[in-house]
């Protein structure tokens, strides 16, 4: 089963291509029979991301009469969800980051099958490009549905400062490292980095690996069929280290290891930020302009370019969340159905925070150039791959992050030991 699932994740991808181009899926009818009921929806967004999602919940209430209360769990998401399941007190609906968690909750029998909620899975197929629904399947059964994603191949930068420095955006990785060297030579330390959140490093690695080793190897590596001792892994790490160097990271790598992801954004985009480049997914835009520094102007003081191609590889990586139900209380079915509709997709996309996988969400739904281009980037990519660390079994992403934290400090990583540990995790999960 573990060989089939990631393949599904991959198939989806070819598919997303059409997503942003719009389409004419049948909007799922939204029932109002449950009007007046209240459900709880749990996810991990706070701050501006939470505000965006609240707009979706408000629209749902207006449409169905069901009140969906949002509970934010910013950190230790799986702990809170797992203890609440064990205590007999799960939320009605959760939006789950990471397919590893989805497998965990589904296999222990905590999730309701989508079909058991009374939603016709076959009918949903028309709403999505082929392959999307498979992301939410565990062992062939539909437990969840992907509701949003972001590109993770966006390199954020300060156009204003690029202009002052007299540098321009690069097209490939060699050009990127040259850019870093140029900026450094002009007396500015180019990059912000918040590597205490080690997933930022796994995102770097996945981008480079998918581009350098190619999507096929990527699929095998993150499904447990290609060992981590494969030479392609070490090569990708070396490539990564040619950009994440002590002299290119504002404050140095040691300090970066103690800095959170949001503080890393601040290094480039806060009012007193000194760096000019920060790499992370499409959601950086919302956090930077919404929380870090509201004075930022899109296109002038914040923008992004494609994560540079490595050689000829241009595979785009994305991260996304799936929605799943823990109960079949009145209102749950309606909410899940609503979340598969173009209505919800358009409202959410309209906040600029996410890209919707629903076909019928038109490009015009995206409020600004940043989001529109993000959707288009994914849509026009030659290949798209799902965030690999989110595909690994529970705890696997942390292990990879730790290995990469070691690597950027110049320590050698024992990939053989890493492979042994990872293989045990895949085995334990079954």
């Amino acid at each position: 089963m573990r060989s089939t699932r990631p393949l599904a994740a991959i198939a989806f991808i070819a598919s997303i291509v059409i997503t942003a181009c719009g389409g004419t899926g049948t909007p799922t009818p939204v029932g109002t029979a449950a009007a007046g009921s209240t459900i709880t929806v749990m996810s991990l967004w706070g701050g501006s991301e939470q505000a965006s999602f609240q707009k979706v919940l408000d629209a749902f209430k207006a449409k169905s009469g069901v009140i969906a209360n949002y509970e934010s769990i910013r950190d230790n998401y799986s702990t809170i969800l797992q203890t609440r399941i064990s205590g007999g007190n799960p939320p009605d609906v959760a939006i789950i980051p990471g397919i590893g968690f989805l497998r965990q909750f589904a296999r222990q029998g905590s999730l309701k099958k989508v079909a058991d909620l009374g939603i016709d899975v076959n009918a949903l197929k028309a709403n999505y490009p082929p392959g999307i629904l498979e992301i939410g399947q565990v062992d062939g059964t539909q437990y969840a549905i992907m509701v949003k994603f972001n590109s993770k191949s966006t390199m954020w930068f300060r156009p204003d400062k690029f202009k002052t420095l007299g540098v321009s955006t690069p097209s490939d990785f060699a050009g990127f490292t040259k850019l870093l060297a140029d900026i450094k030579a002009k007396g500015t330390t180019p990059m912000g980095l918040g590597a205490a959140d080690s997933w930022t490093l796994t995102d770097w690695f996945e981008n480079i690996y998918a581009k350098q080793a190619g999507p096929e190897k990527y699929d095998k590596l993150f499904s447990g069929t290609l060992p981590w001792t494969d030479a392609s892994v070490a090569t990708a790490v070396d490539t990564m280290k040619s950009a994440i160097k002590d002299e290119y990271v504002a404050g140095g790598i040691t300090a970066a290891l103690g800095r959170s992801f949001t503080d890393g954004i601040g290094q480039a985009f806060a009012a007193n930020g000194t760096a000019v480049i920060y790499y992370e997914g499409g959601f950086v835009g919302g956090i930077a302009t919404g929380q870090t520094n509201t004075a930022l102007k899109v296109g002038e003081s914040i923008d992004w370019f494609d994560f540079p191609a490595v050689g000829s590889g241009k595979t785009v990586t994305i991260g996304g969340d799936v929605i799943a139900a823990f109960s079949n209380k009145p209102g749950v079915k309606e909410f899940i159905a609503y979340m598969t509709s173009a209505d919800s997709g358009s409202v959410w996309a309209g906040t600029g925070a996410v890209i919707s996988p629903v076909k019928a969400v038109p490009a015009s739904a995206y409020p600004n150039d940043l989001a529109k281009r993000e959707a288009a980037q994914v849509a026009s990519a030659s290949a798209v791959r799902f965030d690999g660390s989110d595909l690994l079994p529970s705890g696997g992403g942390d292990n990879l992050g730790a290995a990469l934290q070691n690597a950027i400090q110049g320590k050698t990583v024992d990939w053989a030991a890493f492979e042994t540990a990872m293989a045990a995790k895949w085995k334990a999960e079954k």
């Binding site: 230790n76 799986s78 702990t79 399941i85 965990q104 300090a255 290891l257 292990n399």
Partner: protein
Amino acid sequence: MGVAPQGLELTRDYRSLSGGRTAARRARGPESPRWGTTILFLGPAGLLLFVFLVYPAIYTVLLSFNRGRNGIFEQWVGLDNYARLFSDPDFINLSTFPPSGALWNNVLWIVFYVSIVIFLGLIIAVVAARVRYESVVKAIVFIPMSIAATALAVIWKFVYSPDANIGLINAILGAVGVAPVSWLGDQGIVNFALIAVGIWGSVGFATIILSAAVKSIPAEVIESARVEGANERQIFFRMILPMVSLPMSVLAVTLVVNVIKLFDLIYVMTHGGPGKSSQVIAFTMFQQAFEAGQYGYGSAVAVVMLVLLIPILIFNVRRFRTSSVT
């Protein structure tokens, strides 16, 4: 730092030595038991202990031989969970030098935390006894004992911050021209940084205990030794040290128990990171059970904790029994 309640366990050992004997002699009720009254007095405690501790402990031991997904007996796996645990490099990895893993981190804690806490506690107790502001010094080092590990973690996240505008240590290092150190971000340093916080939190406890022990030594005994020509070094090593060795050993046992149960500080300060480099067994148990949902595996970790504490358990029970029988 949460050591406090266990700190009281210390008292138990002394009490059982002195009080146990009297217990057997004195504690007599009416000749025949009155069942109604007995149940009234013991019922609530007995019921709670059975439902919340005895029965669950048996359940957990059994669950550790099961896959236990969702906390239910689901599929017997024999010793698989234990085999997996001891081959998991995140739990114990002896193939590298220095070794690593959660269990190894507990060993680091036991070696450094326990010894340094006792050492500093004894020094402060002895030295402070020589000044008039003794109680002030003792109160100051004791303050962290009353503070939650969560607050302690926040205090020290400040002190350790790599940002020289926040982190005091790195600011001082910066002032003398040393590059900032990522105390909590470096896998080689993080355990020692955490142990230092643990020490800071527990020295007050050791000081109070040992100070009382030192003071219980009659002044005349020391004075007469002096008169007989013993120097201060001899007095310390030949008289004070042997006389506080019992409270010291009991203190050591209490601190070892603290280490095995250590959780809050790690959870808040590093969440076991960077990577998994600062995990300890109580954290691993929590994470495997309540994060990864692997209850059988998590139960196995809990059983390992229990096994580690059994020698202390037997020690206590035996000591108590011998002292109350005589």
